[in-house]
């Protein structure tokens, strides 16, 4: 049985400009110790998917329209806020994109680090402080016993993200949700933070849901990858499979956009156009307007393409238009 099983999750935002279907029928599973990636552009619904699991989307305007998220036999989507508080920060930890704003600037690091221990494990302040210092050392913060009493603004961005990681893992959660943890960091720091997450995961056996828009990052940390577009998964495959034989036009276009894989001196490849407006109903293939395959005119227009298993464990949206060869690109 998987550790977490999300089935047909639907989340929408009821705004003045209409109903935005941010997540529109998403299913995935997370096994113990596994790293599952969710990749997609900004606004594709990847963060909302994870926030809604822990009741972190603002309601209103957010609303969970349907689906289940079975974690250890209970449906997270049915839990009340106090019930969720026994899961959040205890069995499922979370780190966020911007470490500069994710720590409370008014409280010392120590106060923020011991909080989960005091809340969830009933530790005394002194005992919690010892554990917090040890955790700071484990994420590679020098002189943790002194530094722990500092305020967040006295730390650099990379150090703050280390604190966030320490805080999320301090209760030894079964799942860590990492929402673009390296996006806001300098490139040199990105590598360190990525290595740190991998190392801590290997040590503690935590499963990780890794949200990112950076395919290069995905290739390094993930076991299983879900590619998200316009509130749905368009492709799911083990990481090697996804990189060696991507099927969907969107996945291939994303891969072609990785700067490091492109010829030096040439214009960088970008996907033309913008993601669709999710407040309007999408009758057919959501990627059709941006699709650059030779068969793009065969994209579904009357129904949304279904996710089908093309080869073992490799799922893709079955849109005839998006599965054809790319135009003017002999490689694929």
């Amino acid at each position: 049985m998987p550790l977490l099983s999300v089935e047909d999750l639907r989340v929408s935002f009821h705004t003045r400009n209409g109903i935005v279907r941010a997540v529109d029928g998403v299913s995935f599973t997370v096994e113990r110790g596994q790293t599952v990636g969710i990749v997609g552009e900004s606004g594709s619904g990847k963060s909302v998917t994870c926030y809604s699991l822990l009741g972190l989307i603002p309601k209103p305007p957010g609303r969970i329209e349907g689906g289940r998220a079975i974690f250890d036999g209970t449906d997270l989507l049915q839990l009340s806020d106090p019930q969720l508080n026994t899961v959040r920060g205890r069995r499922i930890g979370m780190i966020f994109q911007d470490p500069m704003t994710s720590l409370n600037p008014y409280l010392r690091i120590s106060a923020q680090l011991v909080e989960p221990l005091i809340l969830h494990e009933g530790l005394s302040r002194a005992a919690a402080l010892d554990r917090a210092i040890a955790e700071m050392a484990a994420v590679g913060i020098p002189r943790p016993a002194d530094r722990i009493h500092a305020y967040p603004h006295e730390f650099s961005g990379g150090m703050r993200q280390r604190v966030m990681i320490a805080m999320a893992l301090i209760t030894r959660p079964e799942i860590l949700i990492a929402d673009e943890p390296t996006t806001a960091l300098d490139v040199t720091i990105q590598r360190q933070v990525l290595d740190l997450i991998k190392a801590r995961q290997a040590e503690l056996g935590t499963a990780v849901i890794f949200i990112t828009h950076d395919l290069a990052v995905v290739s390094e940390v993930c076991d299983q990858v879900n590619v998200m577009y316009a509130g749905r998964f368009v492709e799911r495959a083990p990481v090697n499979e996804l990189f060696t034989s991507p099927l969907h036009a969107y996945t291939r276009a994303l891969q072609a956009s990785i700067p490091a894989l492109q010829t030096k001196g040439e214009d960088l490849y970008t996907i033309s156009g913008r993601p669709p407006d999710l407040s309007r109903p999408i009758p057919g293939c959501a990627f059709a307007p941006r699709c650059e395959t030779e068969t793009r005119d065969q994209c579904l227009t009357d129904r949304r393409p279904e996710l089908v298993e093309k080869s073992p464990n490799h799922w893709v949206q079955d849109c005839p238009g998006c599965l054809g060869p790319l135009r003017g690109n002999p490689q694929s």
């Binding site: 966020f96 994710s102 909080e115 989960p116």
Partner: protein, 310 residues
Amino acid sequence: MLPFLTKRLFQGLIVLFALFTITFFLAKAMPGEPFTTEKNVSESIKENMRKKFGLDQPVLKQYGRRLANFATGDFGISPRKNRPVLEIIAQSFPASLVLGLGGLVVAVGIGIPMGIVSAIRRNGWIDHGAMAFAMIGICVPAFVIGPLLQSGVAMRLDFLKVAGWDQPIDILLPAITLGLGTAAYLARLTRSGMLEILSQDFIRTARAKGVPTGQIIVRHALRGGLLPSVAFLGPAFAYLISGSFVVETLFQVPGMGQHFVNAAIDRDEFLLLGVVMFYGFLIVVMNLAADVVQALLNPRVRLSETAAAD
């Protein structure tokens, strides 16, 4: 912290100097003089009086002398009341101070909890009700609230008087009248401050850690959310304790408020300058106190301000 304080103190002195200069010349610009009365006083007597109070000197010379006197704490003598200005202030300020403290209790006691609850129950009926109340509190002046309380409440309850300043209970109605406007403004400030903080990323972090809502408000949001209110409370406190002419007149409180108006009507520039400078001094001191409290609440201000001053 110390360089930060000295810097603010220096700024306060400049403010007081500017206040003195403006008030002095405005008072001089008023027609008439302290000795203008309906009684027929001979010109020679007036001449002697002017001489006694130094009003026969050139204006700039008067300005220099009075400024020097103020700097040494000498507020002069009121020609109209024939008593030292400081003595008049010392006699009337205690009543205003007590009334102002009462008003502060009303303002903080109503305004801050109301703002916090409104922010938590944003767009609920509590929020709409509280903000409607706040709007009324800001718009309706004290000279409407006061008489309403007098006729609506004091007339019906035996233990409350319509006006007067004898027993401790007499503070109740004037304190409400005085504090209500501040309470309303404070409620709006607190609400927007809390809403601002509650939308921050670090609140989401706290929720993701499983912190219960009550603790999120108290431990994570309150410090930052109250900063705008604290900044406002400094000058607001000075305003409350320096005496309100309207409230003190309505409820017959022997406070300082009357002197602001009467000194101007009497062209008693010595008393006028005295109470204005005293009010200015209170504002500077209270602003300084608010700065200190803010710095204590906000570690970033503490650091950046001292760093800038070094």
